[in-house]
């Protein structure tokens, strides 16, 4: 089913539980983000993109694979916006679509090494694939 960007924005707001209107655009989320330099669309922009309904750009963004879920943006946001939840919601929207997985089992063997802990694989699969 094809949805308009506006409808997708509503879904993102709903599953993330984020009220984008609470944002006062101070940028502290981006200032706190350890992955900022790796992102094409930055945490503070996720909030305004969702608010403005620019969802296609977010679905294309590589930022969703860079977010560490470290919650620094959630912890430090003065307005309690929780940008990490928006990024997660967009990521889910991508991996829930057919072929949206960022990690497939075939890739795994060459990424493994001796010491790699199980939880790394478990968390990567949770974050990157359906």
């Amino acid at each position: 089913m094809l949805r308009t960007e506006k409808e997708q924005a509503e879904i993102i707001k709903e599953i993330s539980g984020v009220n984008t209107k609470k944002c006062m655009k101070c940028g502290k989320c981006s200032a706190s983000c350890p992955a900022y330099d790796e992102m094409d669309i930055r945490p503070h922009q996720f909030v305004s993109y969702v608010q403005n309904g620019d969802i296609n750009a977010l679905l294309e963004s590589k930022s969703i694979w860079k977010c560490l879920s470290c919650f620094a943006c959630v912890e430090r946001c003065p307005r309690d916006v929780k940008p990490a939840r928006l990024i997660e919601a967009v990521r889910l929207m991508v991996i829930r679509q057919r072929g949206g997985n960022y990690l497939t089992p075939n890739e795994v063997p060459e990424l493994l090494d001796e010491e790699l802990p199980q939880q790394l694989l478990a968390s990567a699969f949770r974050k990157y694939s359906k």
Binding site: S16, E38, F71
Partner: protein, 262 residues
């Protein structure tokens, strides 16, 4: 005192030392970690979306199993602690998640967040007491300069984790001092190690680990301790900066209690 204990998958495999030393030390300090039966992997990351229920069920099962025994649930791995504590908070406060999870599980009595989730360090701080721990230390780690590495998952979001001050925590430093060593406070001790990113984004994870290592070395740390197998892996294997040795918290604890030698 007997606690329900959730070791998690990594402690059964790559991080067996973390688990083994914890159990040994617990007995020496007068409490028992009783592994809950038939636990399943917690999933290692907390599912943030409101429509994800299935991914939270294993945590609820573990929580309910502790509730049935009327015990607090102790965790050790930061990721397990994070997931289980946050799911517990959902079960307590988010009606929709509580209802749906209980509908799936069909427990005899619905689970509503009754279990108290404690990290091993919280047991040491709040139940045993660092002053008592200090008295039990037979082999003080005098002269060691140790930096605590907290990472993200124990501390944030503080409104749920309620573990310590998220920006200036002290629990691990107090732990280090109780073991007789010198605690080195450095600013990047609560910054991310890269987490699961290190699987596919080596450069990013490397950068983050380098910053942590440089920050710790800058303040004079000679080794680091962590509670998390993934942090340990990243700190050891990512990045190019000069490495400080990294140990599990329980390894140093067992040493200080004279249960193992270095």
């Amino acid at each position: 005192m007997v606690y329900s204990y959730y070791p998690g998958c990594t402690l059964k495999n790559k991080a067996q030392d973390l688990d083994k030393y914890a159990r040994m030390s617990a007995e020496a300090l007068g409490f028992t970690l009783e592994e809950i039966e038939e636990w399943q992997c917690c999933g290692a990351v907390y599912p943030q979306a409101s429509d994800e229920i299935a991914t939270k069920l294993s945590a609820v099962r573990a929580l309910n199993s502790a509730k049935e025994k009327d015990q607090d649930l102790v965790t050790l791995c930061s990721a397990c602690h994070h997931v289980i504590k946050r799911v517990n908070d959902d079960m307590k406060h988010v009606e929709d998640i509580r209802t749906r999870a209980n509908n799936y599980l069909e427990l005899e009595e619905p689970y509503e967040g009754e279990t108290q989730v404690l990290h091993f360090l919280e047991v040491l701080r709040d139940r045993v007491g660092f002053d008592v721990l200090k008295e039990k230390v037979t082999n003080p780690l005098t002269g060691k300069k140790i930096g605590a590495y907290y990472g993200c998952m124990l501390l944030r979001p503080s409104s749920v984790m309620a573990f310590d001050d998220p920006e200036n925590p002290t629990i691990m430093e107090d732990f280090i001092r109780a073991l007789g060593a010198e605690a080195v406070v450095y600013p990047y001790r609560n910054e991310c190690c890269g987490g699961y990113i290190s699987l596919k984004e080596k450069a990013l994870a490397g950068n983050l680990v380098d910053q942590v290592m440089e920050s710790a070395a800058d303040k004079g740390a000679e080794e680091l301790i962590t509670a998390c197998p993934l942090c340990l892996y990243n700190l050891k294997n990512s990045g190019s900066a000069k490495k400080l040795p990294v140990h599990y918290i329980t390894e140093l604890l067992a040493q200080a209690l004279g249960l193992i030698t270095e």
